[in-house]
Amino acid sequence: MHGLPDQLANGLALGALYGLIAIGYTMVYGIVQLINFAHGEIFMIGGFGALTAYLWLPDGTGLALALPLMILLGVVCAVLVAIGAERFAYRPLRGGPRLSPLITAIGLSLALQQAVWAFYPDAKKARPFPQIGGADLDLGLVTVSREDLFIFVSAPVCMLALGLFVAKTRTGRAMQATSQDPDTAKLMGVNTDRIIVMAFAIGAAFAAIAAIAQGFKTGEVNFRMGFIAGLKAFTAAVLGGIGNIYGAMVGGLVLGVAEALATAYIGDIPGLEQFGGGSWKDVWAFILLILVLLIRPQGILGERLADRA
């Protein structure tokens, strides 16, 4: 098991990224019971928004200066698209058959992907993303690249902020109420439409931050990046218990670590040489998902599904 600390760090970085995206799935599901399959594309648009900010700045701008702007524009783009999607694609279908919004989500996902493909300059191939650069940080047990540092800082900050927001603020409590019982919440004077928009917006903002982290990690953004990331994040949300924001992060971390460890060590087990390495990691991750769901159908931190669904 040599290299275990490094592999754990790899897994946590990847998992935190999945977790941030998964928040968007889980919040929207928790409040409107909709699986927003276009969320992966919102993530991708966040990445392109950040890239636009970087390209828009004059050459040679230090990353310390560029980063806040990149985050800002990435988040703004993602949030605007998410709010637009909610208003024009999902809200008209609310109250309709459950399958309609699902199909809409899939259609929207394709449309957004192809829109970026067609209209963003030179997006028909992968666009290089700026890199932080500099030597890796040697923390004794593990070495962490500067690119991964971004996700290690941003993920806890985002989680803390979200946790405080949901637990302490008035809007946060209204959000909980809407998730528990939308009709009663409405009777109590909660503007549920506004709460739903809020859930979409927060999810989109987190996805944009995750997209910047992925851009740093892989050195590129491309119009298809949302598909795989979205699928993994959705898995993470289910794994952690869909509807639970902490569950999304826990699910993401478990999934990320499982993938890293499967890549690194499954091949060392006698008899399993064939099934190790990078190409089988997804298979192992999904085996884990099935096992968890067999034992805990509601997910790791999931709660009983009350009286709905």
Binding site: G3, P92, L93, G107, Q114, S145, T218, A264, G277
Partner: protein, 414 residues
């Protein structure tokens, strides 16, 4: 309310579908009919024009276009005008096969240039074989496309008489890299990674066999998914293995982030690969992390050949927006080979193509066997399997953000 949701649902699905189909649809206009005497024939081009590999694909399309225009301008074949119909296969075998069917269906098509990817080529071969339509690939390097699935055991068998290619195969490309690294660079410890595609896995396999034969050791092997971009776990494995270099059988969209992440994991190992890493995009995506990486490519560097200088000059003059990339010269030669085959048929039939289109295709395919000319990439001719007789290879190194040739030669069995 119900009706309204249904309407919106239909609209959004339609919009999605339209956006999708808009990328695929091209005008199906067939040429010809503009002048009385001139016959217009179409040369089909199939390459990934969109998606990850579009840089290479667009280079192929533009270079084929240049060849057709040059032939028209110089009146290369009397009484025949050439047109290009370029289809996008997005690097997908299924799409490639649909395109092949489409090209066969277009009666004006006399020959096809493409595709880029070996697995796409594999899916197109049979369609063209059944229609007697000649296909010349500028970039398929998997040996089984010409020599059959058992080529490694020495049982070479040509499967489709309509398939030709102008580039050398992985049967020489992988071993050539192994010899260079072991003998010249004195690197003895390799880590081998491939992307499980026809091209990548084949290349990594031929490399590993030769490297072991020379006495090198394999520190580890791994396979990745070509759609992944996070390779941190694999990168850490490479770093811990203390390998001298990584041989990657695959293409630049995954190769560049892989190489960058290996550097970030603290490994000094350089990444070596085949012709699909020999692209400007590889350096653009990997930035300074790919400095020192090596790529082999088939043929001599274009800059050193006189025939190529004219090509580069004309390409520039034609004002294409994107560079000709790794396969531009081969695409030009592939197209030129089709033009030469048409020329041979026209000369044989008293100055015109047979009126029966199927007969014309058949004759062009037969004429391809004897095509021989001095092309952009050297002497172009085909052996009895449809492979090029030109077996030159080069090694390139990334230095200061550019691929610089470091060695050119012909592969010798060790």
């Amino acid at each position: 309310m119900r009706h309204r949701s249904l309407l919106i649902l239909t609209t959004s699905v339609t919009v999605g579908a339209l956006t999708l189909s808009a990328c695929g649809s091209r005008d199906d206009k067939s040429g010809g009919g503009d002048s009385g005497e001139k016959t217009t024939v179409v040369i089909g081009v199939d390459a990934p024009l969109t998606g990850d590999l579009s840089a290479l694909g667009q280079g192929i399309k533009n270079s084929s276009d240049l060849a057709a225009k040059t032939a028209n301008k110089n009146n290369e074949v009397d009484g025949v005008t050439f047109e290009i119909e370029a289809l996008d296969d997005q690097g997908q075998a299924g799409t490639g096969q649909q395109n092949a069917t489409k090209l066969v269906g277009n009666q004006e098509v006399i020959g096809v240039v493409g595709p880029l990817n070996s697995h796409v080529g594999q899916s197109m071969q049979k369609v063209f074989g059944n229609a007697d339509l000649v296909q010349v690939s500028p970039a398929n390097t998997a040996p089984e496309l010409t020599q059959g699935p058992n080529w490694q055991k020495g049982q070479k068998k040509r499967l489709f008489g309509t398939y030709y290619r102008t580039c050398a195969t992985d049967a020489v490309q992988g071993p050539y890299a192994a010899q260079y690294l072991y003998n010249k660079r004195k690197l003895k410890k390799a880590y081998i990674i491939d992307d499980k595609k026809t091209y990548g896995a084949g290349l990594a396999g031929t490399f590993a066999d030769e490297f072991k034969k020379l006495g090198g050791t394999i520190a580890g092997t791994d396979h990745i998914n070509p759609d992944d971009r996070d390779f941190s776990a694999v990168a850490t494995k490479v770093a811990k293995s203390k390998a001298d270099f990584v041989y990657y059988g695959g293409e630049y969209p995954a190769g560049a982030p892989l190489s960058a992440q290996i550097s970030k994991a603290g490994s000094k190992a350089l990444v070596v690969g085949g012709d699909a890493l020999y692209s400007e995009e590889y350096i653009k995506l990997g930035k300074k992390n790919v400095e020192g990486d090596l790529a082999t490519s088939v043929g001599a560097p274009l800059e050193t050949l006189d025939t190529a200088k004219t090509f580069m000059k004309n390409y520039k003059a034609a004002g294409y927006k994107l560079p000709y990339e790794a396969y531009g010269g081969y695409a030009y030669d592939s197209t030129w080979a089709v033009i030469q085959a048409v020329k041979a048929v026209v000369e044989k039939n008293d100055g015109k193509l047979p009126d029966n289109k199927d007969e014309a295709r058949k004759q062009v395919n037969e004429a391809m066997r004897d095509v021989k000319f001095s092309g952009v990439t050297g002497e172009v001719a085909f052996d009895k399997y449809g492979d090029t007789t030109n077996k030159q290879l080069s090694v390139y190194e990334v230095r200061n953000g550019k691929h610089k040739p470091v060695q050119t030669g012909t592969f010798q069995e060790s």
